[in-house]
């Protein structure tokens, strides 16, 4: 080691530097890249092993179109809902003159809840607003207000919407609060000294600066809902076809009757997720021009 530090050997040292990253890249190759390529190449062959694009054309079958539609609608709604209510809560935290302990409590809770999800979350939703849940019973027996008669059910998209909001909203708060906090006081003062009202300040100064963050976070929320599996599976038992759940049944047994079609469906999903992350990171870079 000490010997290799000698200047005369620096070029050789440089050539060997990449060896330090070899374990990492081997791991990534074996367990991320190679499996992804397997799915990708699988989508390009038919059952007889011939190269084909028909798998992608066959994506246009009712089950798959339905699953994509359900997933996209649910993700879009929970992303917009999470962004809207998360922004309101974030606004209240930053500008609401709340006591310090409450702000800390909210931020800590959001840090926890954003990592929630999965099976326990489904249990909570069932225990609260399931058919025998305590809130369902309370609203029906005390207030004469039967939410199931009004079309709510934990087995349809309204229940999933509520469950997903449980992790979407906190995620929004976690991202938007630092952004709101980094809006400089001078910007508001400058706007006010030019005679702007509070509303004009938000319309012409704060919101344009926040737009990339708001847009980027909404996209991130979309991606997080789009890839979610466990909550929906545990809540609906797989009765509502979401794209992740259909992929799950395809893994257990070739329900589509064509493995290649399964791979093509997965590929479509990865493309959408990749587009989300790319859009998010480019918007994030834009946001950093103003917000540091």
């Amino acid at each position: 080691m000490t010997e290799s530090l000698a200047p005369a050997r620096s070029s050789q040292k440089l050539a060997l530097n990449w060896l330090g990253l070899l374990p990492f890249f081997l791991f990534a190759l074996a367990f991320i890249i190679f499996p992804s390529l397997t799915l990708f190449s699988g989508s390009l062959f038919d059952a007889q092993g011939n190269l084909t694009f028909t798998n992608f054309l066959q994506l246009n079958t009712p089950l798959i179109v339905d699953a994509y539609q359900n997933s996209i609608m649910l993700s879009l709604q929970t992303a917009l809902g999470g962004a809207f209510f998360g922004f309101l809560l974030g606004y209240a935290v930053v500008y609401g003159n709340l006591p310090r302990w409450l702000r800390t409590a909210i931020m800590t809770f959001c840090g926890l809840a954003a990592n929630f999800g999965g099976v326990p979350l489904a249990f909570s939703i069932i225990a609260t607003v399931g058919r025998t849940g305590f809130l369902t019973a309370f609203l029906r027996d005390q207030l004469g207000f039967d939410i199931y008669a009004l079309g709510f059910s934990i087995y349809n998209p309204t229940g999933l919407f509520m469950a997903y909001m449980y992790f979407q909203l906190p995620l929004m708060v976690l991202i938007i609060v630092p952004a709101l906090e980094s809006l400089r006081r001078e910007w508001r003062e400058a706007a006010e000294s030019l005679g702007a009202t509070n509303w004009q300040y938000w319309q012409y100064v704060a919101l344009p600066i926040l737009t990339p963050t708001l847009l980027g976070t909404t996209i991130l929320l979309f991606g997080s809902a789009f890839g979610a599996y466990a909550t929906a599976q545990a809540l609906t038992g797989g009765t509502l076809p979401l794209i992740t759940l259909v992929i799950g049944t395809q893994i257990r047994g070739d329900v589509l009757g064509n493995p290649g079609l399964g791979y093509a469906m997965v590929l479509g999903m990865v493309v959408i997720m990749a587009a989300c992350i790319a859009a998010y990171s480019s918007l994030q870079r834009q946001a950093e021009r103003w917000l540091r």
Binding site: L89, V119, L135, I247, V270
Partner: protein, 262 residues
């Protein structure tokens, strides 16, 4: 600030508190009602007396600990090397660590099963090799968080000075990592470890599709077959997750204070 905003803020916060706390209260309430007409810990007693529960739980704890160990062995040297010797490779390494965000768990497990269930690499035949696959999958899922935590920790250190000081005292590579870098990264490593633990302990997808008896699939099957036990399991796993994540919060705050002193 005008007073109007205060009222508005409190309204939002109370609404939010109702939305977030009612389900937790509902779960707790439900978990205590296994005996008709009174509050009891019966559901918890049933959970703890189920041999499958302990088996599944300790299976997952063991896998979580192994994942943490291997993850750190892989990520810390890599992040250290990137920070010290190959800063130009940073974007590439970061891109790879972010790939799990693009590949949802259900897609990852699909790829793993299709890749490792046929020659030349058959790993799904024996439980031992399937567990290797499971741990590798967990490492992939938690990689973005672990790498981020370790990298942030390393950037707050002066890696070059520390390394050169250790070298001038005659330390070799492994010694530097083990006796200089690891101790200095204690906070970052701990938060990476805890988030890994919290993720692995309740993970459903990988264990379920690789057909291993982990805690996530156990909870799911209880949810399908029992009424009150799932609520008790929910409360138990909240307690666990919250304990891990609250500890992260404590360490993150500790780190921030150090950073602000610097």
């Amino acid at each position: 600030m005008p007073k109007r905003i205060n009222v508005f803020a409190w309204f939002i916060v109370i609404l939010g508190a109702l939305f977030f706390l009612l389900p937790i209260y509902g779960t707790l309430d439900f978990s205590l009602r296994a005996r008709k007409g009174e509050l009891s810990l019966l559901a918890y007693e049933r959970v703890f007396s189920d041999p499958l529960f302990l088996q599944a739980f300790f299976f997952s704890v063991q896998k979580a600990l192994l994942t943490i160990g291997f993850s750190l062995l892989l990520i810390v040297p890599t992040a250290y090397w990137v920070n010290w010797r190959l800063p130009r490779w940073r974007p590439v390494v970061e891109l790879v660590t972010l790939m799990p965000f693009v590949i949802p768990a259900v897609v990852l497990v699909f790829g793993l099963i299709r890749t490792f269930s046929r020659p030349p690499f058959v790993m799904t035949r024996s439980t031992f090799t399937t567990d290797i696959l499971l741990i590798a999958g967990y490492m992939v899922l938690t990689m973005p968080y672990v790498y981020r935590a370790v990298d942030t920790g390393l950037r707050a250190l002066d890696v070059r000075t520390l390394t050169e000081a250790a070298q001038s005292l005659g330390a070799n590579g492994p010694t530097i990592l083990w006796r200089v870098i690891f101790p200095n990264l204690r906070g970052a490593i701990l938060s990476g470890a805890l988030i890994t633990f919290a993720t692995v302990i309740g993970e459903l997808i990988l264990a379920s599709f690789l057909v291993r008896p982990a805690f996530g699939p156990y909870m799911e099957s209880m949810g399908q077959n029992k009424a009150y036990e799932p609520a008790a399991l929910g409360i138990l796993s909240y307690a666990l997750t919250w304990a891990s994540l609250a500890l992260i919060d404590v360490f993150a705050r500790g780190n921030k204070q150090v950073a602000s002193i610097r």
